[in-house]
Subunit: 406 residues, 3 copies
C-alpha cells in the first residue's frame, strides 16, 4: 500500500495532513469474434477511485477511499488506520488490501504492467477485507513482512459469513544494499499464504471466473465486460475451508520489469441441500515481462516520469514513455468441479491459458494508456454466447485503457 | 461541459490542478390535487453532486464526479479525460454528457431557467454515457461542434445492451464577432442528432415518462417525486433502432434568455416473447423565456452575480437577482404505443402539454431559489392515483427548489 | 449539528469556504456465547463519512456529507443550507438530523460516550430526514430551540410514504451565565417531541430492533453486526399515526459527563390485508455517566484534547485521555405487539435491559478507542440462533471500536 503524490493539505507543524488522490480508468474492449453473449464489445469504466489519506500526528496514518467499479455501485474501498510505531513494526486496523499474493499486495492497480491481474489472483485473490495486521520493513528495507487476521468473504464488503482468516506475506530483496551484484539490487523473492473457513453459506453462489475483469458482484455489467470461462451452478456456495499459497519472483532493473508468481489453493464448496462438500485444488501461475523502449528505469512498479515527455504547451513533443509487455498466465481447476457437479462441463472449462501482448504509453506522469491484445485458450469449449449456444475454445480481446492517476 | 469556479488547488507551475465543486438541490413539491399515488407532496433531494476536475499538465483535462439522485444511490456521474489539443480540436474519452439536444449539452443543470428540462429531453435525452468524442470551437467561438461514439443505454451506467451510438451536435453563433447586429451577438442556432441500436433487451422495461423528474431508475422514490403520464407494460423492452434529431434556437441579451428546441425521434420497442417490434415516432418542443427584473445581463446560461446582492453581514440588503420565466413544452407519442399494446390507453396519454410560470431568485452567486408553477394537461385521462383508480386530464405542481452551487 | 475542525479552504475575504472532515470507525465485536445466527463475531465498518461544509457568504452555511454504513451502500448523509440570519433565528432547509431526542440532536456520533445510542433512540429515533427547520440560541446561549417539518420515514432517504412530520426541541442551560452555581454551569435540561402520520405503507416491514447497531436497512450485514431482540412479522407495516416525546437531563463538569433521557411514544402499525391498526405504546430510558481519569474537563460532548498526549515523534509518552463510562438503558414495548400478532412472542421480547461498562481512550484529538462490555437481558427468551433455534434471555458483547475523526 504505497501511496504516491496527488494533492496534500498539511498543517504548519506537519502533524496533520489530508491528501487527495484520484484514479479513473476508461476501457474500450473489442471481443473477436464479436457476437458474444453476455460479453459485449464496448466502453467500460472499470475503476473510478477517490483516496483521502494522511496522518493524524506523525505516527498515525489513515486512508479512506471509495471506488465505483464496473459492476457495482460507488462503495467503500479502504478505510483503515495505520499506527507506524516504527518502520519495522506497524499496525494496520480496518479495511485494506489483504497481504496475499505479490500481484495483489506489492503495488496498486495504476502501476500494473498489464491492465488486470493474472488469472489466479484475478479470480481467487483476497482483494480488500477488514482486518488487523502487523507489517513493516526489516533490515533497512530488505525484508517486508505482513501478518494478520481478516474478515474473509469475497462477495460484498461485510463480514457475515466467516470466521477470521489468517494471512501472511514475505518479500525479500536480498541484494538491496549489496555492492557485489548491482544488477540484482531490485530482485524480489518471497511468498504468501492465507487460510480460513466459511461457516455459513453466502447468499449467492461464488463469482464466476473471468479473463479480464476484477469483480465482487456477479452483475449483468460484470458479465458484459469480460469472457466468463467458468460459472458455478446456482446451488453452489463457498462453505468450509480454504487455503492458498503463492511464491513470487520479481525483478526490476535496466528498464525491465519481470514478475512471476505461482499459486496453489484448496477451496471447499457446498451444494445447498446436499451433504456434498468437495475440496477443489486450483493451481495457477503467470510470467510477465516488460521493457521501457524509451529508457526509463524503475526500482519497482511506481510512478513513471517520462524522460522525453509529450507536453506541447511547453514545446515538448517527446514520445512520452513506452513500455512493451508480454504475459502468459494459466489457471487449472481440479476435476472435482465437474465430478461433484459444481459446474456444467458442457459449458465451462477447467483449464484456461491467457496470453497478453501489448504496450503502455505514459503521456506524462499522470496519464497512461494500456494497449493489449489478449488471447484466451480454453481446455474445453466454453459457452461464449448464451443466446445462440455457441461454444468456443479460444477468444481474442483487443483492449485499450486510458488511465489517469494522481 | 463548461465548469465555473469552486475551490481549486494548483501547483506553482500551474500544470497540475484539482478543483472541487458541489451542487445540492432540495425540492419542496406540492401536487394539486394532493391525493395522488404514487406521486406525493413533500421534500425531495433531486441532485447532490461532487465534481473533482482540473488538469494534468495543461492540455490534459479531467473530470470525475458523483451524484446522489432522488431515485437512486450515490453513483458515478462523469469520469473522463479531455485532450485539449487546441480550442478547435479536443478529444474527450470517458463518461460525460452526450452532445445531443441543446437542452442537455449547452449548459449544466445549475444554470437552468426552469427547475428541470422540457418534456422530450427530460424523458428521451441521452444523458451521460461512456464515449469517445471530438469537439471544439471554430471561427473564434462562432461554431461549436461535437461528434462522437457512445455506449448507448438509458438505464444505469454500464454498456451491456447495445452497439455504439453515433451522435453529432452543432451550435452556431453567427453574429458573435459582428458589429452590425450587436443585439444578436448571443444568438445561437443549431441542431443535433443521434442514432443507435439496442441489440439486446435491457433487464427492465424503459423508464416511465414523467413531468418533473430526471431519472435513470424506475424506483418507488422516482415515482413519488413526479406525475407519471406514460408507463410501458411490464413486458416491453427497448430493442432495435433509435434515431432522434433536434433543432434549437436560443438568444441571450438585454437581460433576456430565450431558448427553444424542437425534437423528433423514432424508437423501436419489443414485447418479450412476441415478434412485435414497432417503431414509435415521438415529437416534442419547448419555448422558454426568462428576463432579469433586476438588470443582470448574461451571454449564456452561466453563474449570475447579482448587481444588488443580499449580504447583511456587509450591510447589503439588496434584492439579489430576480429572473421571471415562462415555458411551454409538449410531447407527442405516435399511436403505435397503444396500437401495439406497449402501454394501456385507459391509464396513459400520448399527448402532454406542460406550462411553467415562475421566477428564480439568486440570493448571491452561490444560492438560487426556483419558484415554479407547473400545469400539466394530458390528451387523455392519466392514472394519477393507483390506489383509488382516479384518472385526470390535468395536474398542478407548486415547486420550490433551493440550490447551492460552487 | 456543531461541526469542529478538519481542513478548510477559505477565500481571502473569508466569505466563501469549503471544509473537509472525515469519520471512520472500525469495530471488533465478540459475542458471548459465540454460536449465534445471524449475529456473528467479527470486524465491522459501522460508519465511514465525508463531510463537506462551509459558507457561501457569511450568513449562508451549507453541509453535504456521505456515509457508508455497515448495512448499506455509500449514500447521502446530510445535504442542507442553513441561513444564519442571527444566532437566535436560523433556517435550515434540506436533509439533516431531526431535532428529536437529546441523544440524536445534541452531538454527533464521534462524541458519544458509549459506541452507540441507547435503546429507544437507537431503534426509534428519527435519524436524518429532509425538512425545513427554524432553530437558534436565545439568552446568550442559555436556550436552544428547534422546530420544523420533516419528511418522515425511517427506511431509506426518500419521502415516499408520509405526510409531513412536526418536530420540536428545547434545551435549557439555566446556569450558563450565573455565578451563583458555577458547578451547575453546564447543566442541560429539556425535551423534544415529534408527531406524524404514515399515509401509505412502506415497501418493507419496519427495521427490527437491535442492541448495538444503527441501521436504516434490514440487510444481512445489519443482522450479522448485532443481536436482534424484536422483529416484526413479514406482513407488518408502519401505517397511521406516530407520536413520541422525550425529556432529558444532562450535566458536564469536573471531568464528568452525565446524560439521561426518558422517552415515550405511540406507534401505529398495520398488518397488510387486514383491517388491524394497533397502536403500540413504547417507553425507554437511559442513564449514562462518564469520568475522565486523566483530568480533562469538557462543557459538552466535543473534541477531546488530551492533557498528556501520546506522541512518540515529539517524545511525548503520555497516556492520552482515558474516560471510564457506564450506561443502563431499557426499552419496553406494549403488549399490543404480541396481542395483535405483530411479532412472534416465542422468538422476541417486549423488554430489553442493556448495561454498558467500559472506557474510551483518546490517543490524541483525532484518534479514539471505545472499549465496551455490553450485557443484554431480555424479558423473555430471544431467538439468538436461527439455524439451531436457540433462544436466550441474555447475551454479552465485547466491543472495541477504533475511530478517527477530523
Amino acid at each position: 500500500g504505497r501511496m504516491g503524490e496527488g494533492f496534500e493539505l498539511v498543517t504548519p507543524d506537519r502533524e496533520f495532513s489530508l491528501g487527495v488522490r484520484v484514479l479513473n480508468q476508461v476501457d474500450f474492449k473489442d471481443f473477436i469474434p464479436n457476437d458474444l453473449d453476455p460479453a459485449i464489445s464496448g466502453l467500460y469504466l472499470p475503476r473510478t477511485r477517490f483516496y483521502f489519506s494522511g496522518r493524524l500526528t506523525r505516527p498515525v496514518e489513515y486512508e479512506v477511499s471509495f471506488q465505483r467499479s464496473v459492476e457495482g455501485v460507488l462503495d467503500l474501498l479502504d478505510g483503515f488506520v495505520n499506527f507506524a510505531i516504527d518502520e519495522g513494526f506497524q499496525i494496520k486496523f480496518g479495511r485494506s488490501i489483504v497481504p496475499y499474493s505479490f500481484d495483489w499486495y506489492d503495488h496498486l492497480e495504476p502501476y500494473f504492467i498489464t491492465p488486470e491481474r493474472s488469472l489466479f489472483p484475478l479470480n481467487l485473490g483476497l482483494s480488500r477485507q477488514a482486518g488487523l495486521m502487523a507489517w513493516g520493513y526489516l533490515g533497512e528495507g530488505r525484508l517486508e513482512y505482513a501478518v494478520g487476521g481478516f474478515s474473509g468473504g469475497s462477495i460484498g464488503i461485510a463480514d457475515d459469513n466467516t470466521t477470521r482468516d489468517a494471512v501472511g506475506y514475505l518479500n525479500w530483496r536480498p541484494f538491496l544494499h549489496t555492492d557485489r551484484f548491482p544488477a540484482l539490487r531490485f530482485l524480489n523473492l518471497g511468498g504468501s499464504m492465507a487460510g480460513g473457513r466459511s461457516v455459513r453459506p453466502e447468499s449467492e453462489r461464488p463469482i464466476p471466473f473471468r479473463t479480464s475483469i476484477q469483480s465482487t458482484e456477479n452483475s449483468r455489467e460484470a458479465a458484459a465486460a469480460s469472457i466468463t470461462f467458468f460459472d458455478f451452478e446456482e446451488d453452489v456456495r463457498q462453505l468450509g475451508s480454504r487455503f492458498q499459497g503463492a511464491l513470487h519472483l520479481a525483478y526490476y532493473g535496466g528498464g525491465w520489469s519481470i514478475e512471476s508468481e505461482v499459486q496453489a489453493g484448496r477451496f471447499q464448496y457446498a451444494r445447498l441441500g446436499t451433504p456434498i462438500r468437495p475440496e477443489v485444488p486450483v493451481v495457477g501461475y503467470h510470467v510477465t515481462a516488460a521493457y521501457f523502449l524509451t529508457g526509463e528505469e524503475i526500482p519497482d512498479r511506481t510512478t513513471i516520469i517520462p524522460l522525453r515527455p509529450f507536453d506541447p504547451a511547453h514545446g515538448l513533443f517527446g514520445p512520452g514513455a513506452v513500455e512493451a509487455f508480454a504475459r502468459i498466465s494459466q489457471l487449472h481447476l481440479g476435476e472435482e468441479v465437474f465430478a461433484f457437479e459444481l459446474a456444467n462441463p458442457a459449458d465451462w472449462t477447467r483449464n484456461t491459458y491467457l496470453t497478453d501482448i501489448g504496450f503502455n504509453w505514459y503521456l506524462n506522469r499522470f496519464v497512461k494508456f494500456y494497449v493489449d491484445w489478449q488471447h484466451a485458450n480454453f481446455g474445453s469449449p466454453v459457452l461464449v454466447n448464451e443466446a445462440d449456444g455457441t461454444r468456443s475454445r479460444h477468444n481474442d480481446l483487443f483492449w485499450v485503457r486510458c488511465q489517469i492517476w494522481f
